[in-house]
Amino acid sequence: MDEIIGGLVRAVELILTLNPEVVQVTFRSLGISVTSVLLASTINIPLGGLIHFSDFRGKRALVNLIHTLYSLPTVTVGLLVYLLISRSGPLGWLDLLFNPAGMVLGQAILITPIMLGLTITALDAISRDIRDTTMSLGASEMQSLRAIAREAQPALVSAVLLGFGRALSEVGVAMMIGGNIRGHTRVLTTAISLETSMGNLELSLALGIILLSISLLVNLAMSLSQRR
């Protein structure tokens, strides 16, 4: 119990004094997660749209597969990406292992199923009626698409936020691919895991609180930008 209170106090202390190591780790966490979300969004939102708007055999099976992959364990993704980018693996020459770029790749793969799945769901929920209505009112294909995108925006934003949350809070990929190297690939979650194993329970809790604060800030910023 004392540790929880101690953790809170420590968190406030670390934030107020801008502890350089904590600041560095926090920004690295944020940078890597944001980059992986940008990468995953750029690929998955258009891809989700493509899947939604096209009819092909096995579409339902594909959507089911995507939903199944929501449960992809982070360590499994870490392991698969590790085997790909290990020096002995097919992409070893890219030198991604134990580098932030490799972590971005791993996290982007990790959140791909949810972002893809939620994009499809978001479009499914609205597009049938809107498309019919706008088309019947004489809108062009492009105008109709734009209307759909506007309607789907809140759901898409929450897909992006969910992807960001999963990327920021996961530890399997960050540990396996990044290696938790001090000053290079250490992020908040791997630092939390390290501090816990070293018995620094208060510091560990404090880092968890900092991670949540970051998430709060990003969510606030997103909801502000959503307000019209």
């Binding site: 920004f27 134990f98 001090r182 194993s197 070293m198 910023a221 502000l224």
Partner: protein
């Protein structure tokens, strides 16, 4: 509204560049080391890293995990050297051609810890007969005597298995002998916390126990027994197997580790924080550590040319 989004986007787009910049700052020679948690979690390596980087200008990337994953990294050529504590697996690693040689650089002793009233009465025994006694007591009455095992194939787990072997117990089937044996499948810290909750016996490395001691009531019951010896060794990965490894930097770091300066740092580390050093210097202690002459040679043999 538009400006908010624009600002947000600008900030988000700058972040990746910030990471990239952070990365390019440390170009030059890099040395990747895979090490065990028990060595890393003490922060001894952080100290050695700072000193070494300052003196030699070689950037150290230290990845810490169990001995099992460290050896995997080594076999695949993802790191340039290992710092581990599992003699049998180290020797196999070298025999398989992945490692060049084994250099002993520090040692300490494992502890068998347990409740202070010592229900199985193991005090004064050597470690393997203590474990045997805990087992016999536990099979009669698991409420009185329990043992928590790491169960994660780490170096400490290997040590436990070799102690069971010495006691004539088959560690592969031990889990079936009753509730007294608990396999944690986790790191040392988590295992210590579990042993504390259950008021059980466990085998621990000295340094992790020191770090946790403040939160615990369990006490070291067997310390300094010869069969609890814990030797840390460094192994450069062979450039013959993996031509990309930075063997020269690994040699430089190993020579630094066993130099008078490096040994002094190792032998005094932890004194101020725990009242006693966590590791003992390897200098002149070859026999105590059970290492042979080549495992203690300075400077180490040269790097062979890549095949």
């Amino acid at each position: 509204m538009r400006t908010t989004i624009a600002t947000l986007l600008a900030v988000l787009l700058c972040l990746p560049m910030a990471i990239a910049a952070d990365d390019s700052a440390d170009s030059g020679s890099r040395l990747k080391i895979a090490t065990t948690t028990s060595l890393y979690d003490t922060k001894l390596l952080d100290l050695l890293e700072d000193k070494f980087e300052e003196e030699y200008g070689i950037e150290l990337d230290i990845v810490s995990g169990g001995t099992g994953i460290a050896i995997q990294y080594g076999e695949k050529g993802d790191v340039d050297m290992l710092m581990v504590h599992d003699k049998a697996r180290e020797i196999k690693f070298i025999e398989d051609g992945y490692g060049l040689y084994r250099r002993c650089f520090a040692y300490n002793y494992f502890y068998v810890i347990g409740p202070s009233d010592d229900p199985a009465n193991i005090k004064g025994m050597n470690a393997s007969s203590a474990l045997k006694t805990i087992m016999e007591m536990g099979m009669q009455d698991p409420a009185k005597s329990k043992f928590v095992s790491r169960g994660d194939n780490s170096g400490t787990h290997s040590k436990e298995k070799s102690l069971w072997r010495a006691a004539g117990v088959d560690s592969a089937t031990i889990n079936a002998t009753g509730d007294w044996y608990v396999e944690a499948g986790q790191g040392m810290g988590a295992t210590l916390m579990m042993a504390e909750e259950k008021q059980a016996y466990t085998l621990t490395d000295m340094s992790t126990f020191m770090a946790y001691r403040g939160n615990m009531t369990l006490m070291p019951l067997i310390e300094g027994s010869e069969d609890l010896l814990n030797v840390y060794a460094a192994i450069p990965i062979s450039p013959v197997k993996h031509p990309n490894v930075n063997c020269a930097a690994a040699q430089t770091f190993i020579d630094f580790l066993v130099s008078a300066e490096g040994q002094e740092m190792i032998a005094t580390y932890g004194e101020d924080k725990y009242g006693q050093p966590l590791f003992m210097s390897a200098l002149g202690q070859c026999d105590v550590m059970g290492c042979n002459e080549t495992e203690c040679a300075t400077p180490a043999a040269a790097c062979p040319a890549p095949a």
